[in-house]
Symmetry: C2
Subunit: 204 residues, 2 copies
Amino acid sequence: MEKFDSKGRLYVISGPSATGKGTLCRRLLQKRDIELSVSMTTRTPRKGEIDGRDYYFVDKESFKSLWEKGGFLEFAQVFDNYYGTPRAKVEESLSKGRNVLLEIDVQGALQVKQEMSESILIFILPPSIDELKNRICGRATETEEQIKKRISKSVDEISQILHYDYYIVNDDLDEAVAKLTSIIDAYDSKIYPDLAKEIINFYK
Amino acid sequence: MEKFDSKGRLYVISGPSATGKGTLCRRLLQKRDIELSVSMTTRTPRKGEIDGRDYYFVDKESFKSLWEKGGFLEFAQVFDNYYGTPRAKVEESLSKGRNVLLEIDVQGALQVKQEMSESILIFILPPSIDELKNRICGRATETEEQIKKRISKSVDEISQILHYDYYIVNDDLDEAVAKLTSIIDAYDSKIYPDLAKEIINFYK
């Protein structure tokens, strides 16, 4: 229990695919009290997926209508389906002083930063491009051509890193989790005007 | 060993006296590779004090001459003596990418922030004013009048907290050390333009 309330902040974890973002997020959620933002999608649920846990599953009409009202912090179309981060839930949690975690791709992260300049963007990097290639090949579900495309996309994504606040090289998972935890813990000690007032009043 | 060099940063630890700043700094120095900035003073060394470790002991002429050249990041006169943080040593360490730790009073910290806007100011708070009073009384070297003055000075110092970047309530020492370490570790993951270029080149 902290003496002073810290501000709720939005942490956006992103980076190329196959860098272990998901595992990192799961480990963080075990260690720290932080809410995971659930995306909304128009695609049909896969076996075992639960509405409200894995995604909010909605039809295209509902998605479009929410989008028209500015109801998404970020949004993407992948083939025939839409994916997005509903704004209301995130804003509600932040206003209650809760930290929120968002795991999305680089395009999405940059959209979120534009919508919420106070959000904290954390870029997860592979140890090297060769290692990324190994990880993608290890999945053994893609052709050489597809792998080449994914590597090239990853390099493009990394070129956006200047827009990010923090980076973590996910080489050793425990170390990466420790770094991520430090970033969040440090923000919990950060001074902002309302907190400064609260502190000054407390010690008067 | 990190893959990318982090930037050397100046961490300024300050806050009212009797909040345990010194102990916190010693613990941090045991845990992290960070240079402690040594102050310069014109007062005579006390028994056991070593020049260059506890202070740089100099005469008034040398101190004044360095001060006239803008050679201090902060400076104070206490009765007949001068105290200050020599700028050159700090700047040299930072330029080599080394982190530097400075433990000084609130007045000094605010001077440092003006001289080096990138420095990171961390305010150490007592658990409460009553607890601060206990700690000061525990030293049993001061009159009631002196204690009152010190408490009032502490309250004045706390009123400057808005100019600081982080705060740590030093209630449980281990927790306070962990918070301080998180702040420094988080900065080691922070992205800045030169680092972004280095990263982009590495993954090209």
